[in-house]
Subunit: 395 residues, 2 copies
Amino acid sequence: MLKDKYRLQIPGPTPIPPRVQLAMSRPMIGHRDPDCSRLVREVSRRLGPVFGTQNPVLLLTGSGTSALEAAAANLLAEGEEAAVVVTGAFGDRFANILNSMRVKVHRLDVEWGKACHPEQLDAFLEQHPRVKAVFLTFCETSTGVLNPIRELVGRVRERTQALTVVDGVSCVGGVPAEADRWGIDILVAGSQKALMLPPGLAFAAVSDRAWNAMETNPHPRFYLDLSNYRKSLEKDTTPNTPAVSLLFGLKEVLDMLDEEGMETVFSRHRLMMEMTRAGIRALDLELLTEDRDASPTVTAVKGGKTWSSEDLRKELRRLGLRVAGGQQHLKGKIFRIGHMGYADPLDVLTTLSALEVALARIGAPVETGAGTQAAEEEWIRVSRADHRSVKQTGN
Amino acid sequence: MLKDKYRLQIPGPTPIPPRVQLAMSRPMIGHRDPDCSRLVREVSRRLGPVFGTQNPVLLLTGSGTSALEAAAANLLAEGEEAAVVVTGAFGDRFANILNSMRVKVHRLDVEWGKACHPEQLDAFLEQHPRVKAVFLTFCETSTGVLNPIRELVGRVRERTQALTVVDGVSCVGGVPAEADRWGIDILVAGSQKALMLPPGLAFAAVSDRAWNAMETNPHPRFYLDLSNYRKSLEKDTTPNTPAVSLLFGLKEVLDMLDEEGMETVFSRHRLMMEMTRAGIRALDLELLTEDRDASPTVTAVKGGKTWSSEDLRKELRRLGLRVAGGQQHLKGKIFRIGHMGYADPLDVLTTLSALEVALARIGAPVETGAGTQAAEEEWIRVSRADHRSVKQTGN
């Protein structure tokens, strides 16, 4: 078989659009060159609508985790209290970061595969009245859960003075995010998920409340000191050398999002989620997550009783398609399909048909074609509904 | 939808492997530079096994048609007689080229969609004893027919002194070709089909008999004078400036073919053909070509009675997948699926599932999932058989 031909259906890094790849191949420029300043200014402003903020978005060179730590390190210091809603491995990471800072962490642990619902958070906040900030995960990459961030942040703002930090790494760009309107104090994201770039850039949208809180925070920080990014951005630059080629690519990504239109981007992601879920169900496989908690960007599927999800992943890899495994205690128990960024409904059909062949080849019970058919029917149904709604709008 | 994401399932140009694209991005070199000479020497020799010849393969800069014309222009002159077996648009092109040279052309017209069978050729050759050369098409791109070239060339060699010219443009690299053993005098191919390159290079494998015939041929020629290519190749170069970046890519393609192994390349193409045909049949669509005449590189499918194949093609394009239409009198009556070069079985499944959705969306009768299922079952069956044969070899 063609050894280097594969479909990357993991929840990040995601495939790079060819025009973005080309843009990143442009000749290097100096990071203090006026061309780079123009680029920094343009992309930080054009990211605003993607994060739902009027402010320019800060550009960090680092992985998503660097932005998670930046949020924590700029808002909290040793001995202060923070609440972390842990719905999976990335909520857990927030807690680990805060623990490393010797912050007093109150964990609200939710069963992996379920979202945190507002009532749970209400009760938890009442128990911990002194928390300075609440850390939430928007899409929990490890489980495919989309937490109801708008509602959760709303409850925090209604009931407490705490700041809210949201990890949007694996969904911003693929689902609506309204940092300003929802009252998120720091919304962070990474480049390598729905934003269709290689890893290496992280982003943070910061509220005025958060800037105020940072001013007096004694926690030691240098590379991740967000106020330096803010001051630099006022001069259209970054405090240190940024990943310049990724900035070239980001401009192209923003063009692509503009051309498709954010509403269409979001409905494409919802459609891919619905098709994936319809296909998985038709194959009699078990989804980790209920419909109401499901993310449009990633879907986790439980392994079977008579076959190993790791064997399935290996077989899929042989067929030319890559999905992710489980993390921590879900390792070997689930597999995860990414459907975000440079992905479209045909990718979902390819994934499901590969899954059908792979299941058969590892000897798992499978009705070939059933998953693909269900996903096709979902696509046909949605496109008919779209057609009708376009017609009605036209009348 | 993602406007620039599409699957190119036409019978050429075919998708370019990323590593080939990268190789072609290398800095330009002069065409008389020693590095370019080494490259010309290497690729012309390494192409030999792909064409089944001990001789270095000539490298022309031009489309496939330039090599078809080169074969004609070097072997024949005004007033001489040639036989052309026309099984579709590309056999017809050979006849047009020869007519433009004022060669006396005897056409053996075979119904489009069928191969020429050796008995038909026998009878035809008897009627035309003075033909100097017989022009044959290996894979007829316009119909998806693979003519039985080994047998046809064998009959010509057995019964006549005529030279044989074979158009292998849309299959060499995807099916076994043995120019020397089968007695083909000129076998030509293009870069943009099973050889996974952009258009711009054409190739010719030439026998000693053909070189002898060329020596005395008075037909005027300059750019397409094959003897100049031969003389230049003896000095590891080309008579004119070659498409250097395509030569960079060709070296990478030859590495890929070596790494996969030609037998595996051929069985991958056969599998894609079988999967496509199984899928099309399961969808109750009509194949243009019978199994025994079918090419592993391209499959033609008839349009329906209640829907237009052009509407289907447009809808597929909207979904993110491109197939070709019919040519000449088959225009609007068939569509053609390419499955060659940088293509794998998952591409066939993607194509079939897209086809199912597109048929439904244009209101054609379709059982969603049925084609995908049949193709999956074919893949599963073949992989089980391969597994058994590996096991047996192991015993």
